[in-house]
């Protein structure tokens, strides 16, 4: 069996909280606090969870947009979390990103042609200027934009078209992995469908692995292979697509799924009490214990580790027999 494309081991990222006149460090935001997972070639792994659960921080840590606090990030057998800036260059080509906001993630003063040519030049992928020109044109075809749009600037495009430019820019470097950080969240329903379909086609065509960070569970179910559910900086459940959507193990996953309103479905949502606690001072024991309908003594004392529930499903919960029907939660 070949090694996975990306391996993340016990990743932690703590941001300092400063206060007072001299900005002394008075605490930490435990944004990501011990997260491990793998992504195979050509696979889509989705990170889901609510605001502040740390899913975007994980994405950024993998992109090395900042240094991590501890843990390992291994790309294709090579550790990338401790690489020097020079050593990072090769890795940067292989891991690209598509951001949420197609308005602020494209330089408004550059033509589309230059936006797409920049990564090709940076990584010396083109053999000649004719080759460069050809690659840029081919990228436009790939994301289904007209070639004559190459001389235009970002403001002349709609949100969906800009997101296509963002995707083309990510593809320009010929990556193995694309981190999609809420890449379709800002788009309107009909445009969102276009971009989701495009991402799926590109994955097929180029064998891309996707780390799909999203809070939209219906979109995730539609396009993912595996899902990792995050809560307050930890993964609480990880499972293949069908498993997580038909037989969720963790009470939080159940609540999350039942909270999605849906056309034409009779539902009995689990309404969680209260808000997500602050990641500056996460609850002791299981981090979900303040909102969990099934909480008992052990949850407040001991943090549950991920345990296998069979068929590739991993759940971090102390409940021996995991609770059954979502409706019975009351």
């Amino acid at each position: 069996m070949s090694a996975p494309l990306l391996q993340v081991n016990d990743l932690k990222k703590h941001f300092p909280v400063r206060s007072g006149l001299f900005g002394r460090r008075s605490g930490s935001v435990y944004a990501v606090d011990g997260v491990s997972f793998e992504v195979d070639r050509g696979e889509t792994l989705s990170l889901v969870g609510e605001s502040g659960c740390g899913k975007s921080t994980v994405g950024r840590a993998i992109l090395r947009l900042f240094d991590i606090t501890s843990g390992q990030v291994v790309l294709d057998g090579q550790r990338i979390d401790d690489l020097s800036p020079g050593g990072l260059r090769a890795m940067r080509r292989r891991v690209q990103v598509v951001f949420q906001d197609p308005f602020s993630s494209l330089n408004p003063r550059m033509r589309v042609r230059d936006i797409l040519a920049e990564p090709i030049r940076n990584f010396s992928l083109a053999k000649s200027s004719a080759d460069l020109e050809m690659r840029v044109a081919a990228l436009m075809d790939t994301v289904r934009l007209p070639r004559d749009a190459l001389n235009r600037r970002p403001h002349e495009f709609s949100g969906g078209q800009r997101q296509r430019i963002g995707i083309a820019r990510a593809l320009a470097a010929e990556p193995d992995l694309i981190v999609c950080d809420e890449a379709v969240s800002a788009l309107d329903v009909s445009v969102k469908a276009q971009i989701v379909n495009l991402l799926q086609d590109l994955q097929q065509q180029f064998g891309l692995a996707l780390l799909f960070i999203s809070h939209d569970l219906a979109i995730v179910e539609h396009m993912t292979h595996r899902v990792a559910v995050m809560y307050l900086g930890r993964i609480v459940e990880m499972a293949p697509r069908q498993k997580i959507f038909t037989a969720p193990g963790h009470p939080y996953t159940k609540a999350l799924l039942s909270a999605v309103p849906e056309p034409g479905a009779a539902r009995n949502p689990i309404i969680l009490k209260g808000d997500v606690p602050s990641p500056i001072n996460p609850p002791k024991g299981c981090r979900f214990n303040t909102r969990c309908p099934f909480v008992f003594d052990r949850c407040k004392a001991e943090e549950p580790q991920l345990r296998s529930a069979g068929d590739g499903q991993w759940v971090a919960c102390h409940l021996e027999a995991l609770p059954e029907a979502p409706g019975s939660a009351g």
Partner: protein, 329 residues
């Protein structure tokens, strides 16, 4: 008589490059205690419609024409002074972004109390007492302490609860909610929707809900109106619309949203794409506004704008071919 009757509402904006017809001839009714949802994508005019009902559109550059009859009285004919007595009292509004619609330098108690003091003539103490009561009603723990806090001290879900408390303080007959849960996480959204359903039962206010999320519509609305390019293209009772949408745009919209449970059916279905984009509202649109993106469009559609026709009980749609579609299916 319906509680609210909107007739041929037209809200246009003057811009440097032409007149933007954001809302172009929309009519609808809301009965007492009823929930009507207005759905559509960005720029379809749903928010402008809601702002027009409250006359919150700055004039100029905006211009509102038509009639908005609330309990038989045309709000568009009222003086600004008379209108102020309506806003927040008989008709109130919840906005999408609770952080930017609350005043950051006033305590939430003072903000809830303000409407009470203005409309119901309560004094300071009575207003604060009632504010505590309202916070309790919307399920904020420790209301007596929270009432003295500032918006930044509350979480997003709690701020939206404060907005709802403020909107309901004077027992309005009509509540306009513009994307009330869009900025919230799903578990918090579920809490707020539950609260709105619960309050609707207890308070009995009619609701006009503006949203782009069809799931939210299914959750709390009784009737739905679909807007496209400033026009109403379809209206039906909720269950009917989801079961048998007649307008091709509505059909596309429903097909474009993946549903939870898609992994059960096994084979991955492709999402329906609606090709192209919404037409510019700055040019006069000839014929059907959706014709440019519609698979069924013919020359008739491109030349003659379809009127709203009855397609079933309580179900109307503006499409030349909608009836034929259903007969064939």
């Amino acid at each position: 008589m319906a509680l609210l009757e909107v007739e041929n509402l037209q809200t246009h904006f003057r811009t440097p490059d032409g007149i933007n017809r954001a809302v172009d001839g929309v009519s609808f009714q809301v009965d007492e205690g009823e929930t009507l949802a207005i759905v559509g994508e960005s720029g379809c005019g749903k928010s402008v419609t809601s702002m027009s009902l409250m006359r919150l559109i700055p004039e100029p550059p905006g211009r509102i024409a038509g009639a908005v009859r609330f309990q038989g009285r045309d709000l568009l004919q009222l003086s600004e002074r008379e209108m102020r007595a309506v806003r927040g009292n008989d008709v109130s509004m919840i906005f999408q972004e609770p952080m930017s619609s609350l005043n950051p330098v006033l305590t939430v108690g003072r903000q809830i109390g303000e409407t009470l003091r203005m409309h119901q003539g309560l004094d300071k103490q009575a207003a604060e007492l009632r504010a505590v009561e309202m916070l309790n009603l919307v399920g904020i723990p420790e209301p007596a302490r929270r009432v003295r806090e500032y918006p930044h001290q509350l979480s997003g879900g709690m701020r939206q609860r404060v907005m709802i408390a403020m909107a309901l303080a004077c027992n309005p007959k009509l509540l306009i909610a513009d994307e009330p849960t869009t900025a919230l996480d799903v578990t918090i959204q579920a809490q707020i929707l539950q609260l709105m359903l619960d309050l609707k039962r207890r308070v009995g206010a009619a609701i006009v809900l503006i949203t782009h999320d069809l799931g939210v519509v299914a959750e709390i609305a009784e009737r739905v109106m679909v807007m496209y390019a400033g026009r109403k293209v379809e209206e039906a009772p909720v269950a009917r619309l989801f079961r048998s949408p007649r307008h091709p745009y509505t059909q596309g919209l429903l097909g474009a949203v993946p549903k939870l449970g898609s992994s059960l059916t096994g084979a991955a279905r492709r999402l329906t794409e609606i090709p192209g984009q919404v037409p510019s509202l700055k040019k006069a649109i000839e014929g059907c506004a959706f014709a440019g993106r519609c698979a069924l469009a013919t020359d008739l559609c491109r030349q003659v704008a379809p009127g709203l026709e009855v397609k079933g009980p309580g179900h109307i749609a503006a499409c030349h071919y909608a009836a034929k579609e259903a007969a064939a299916a």
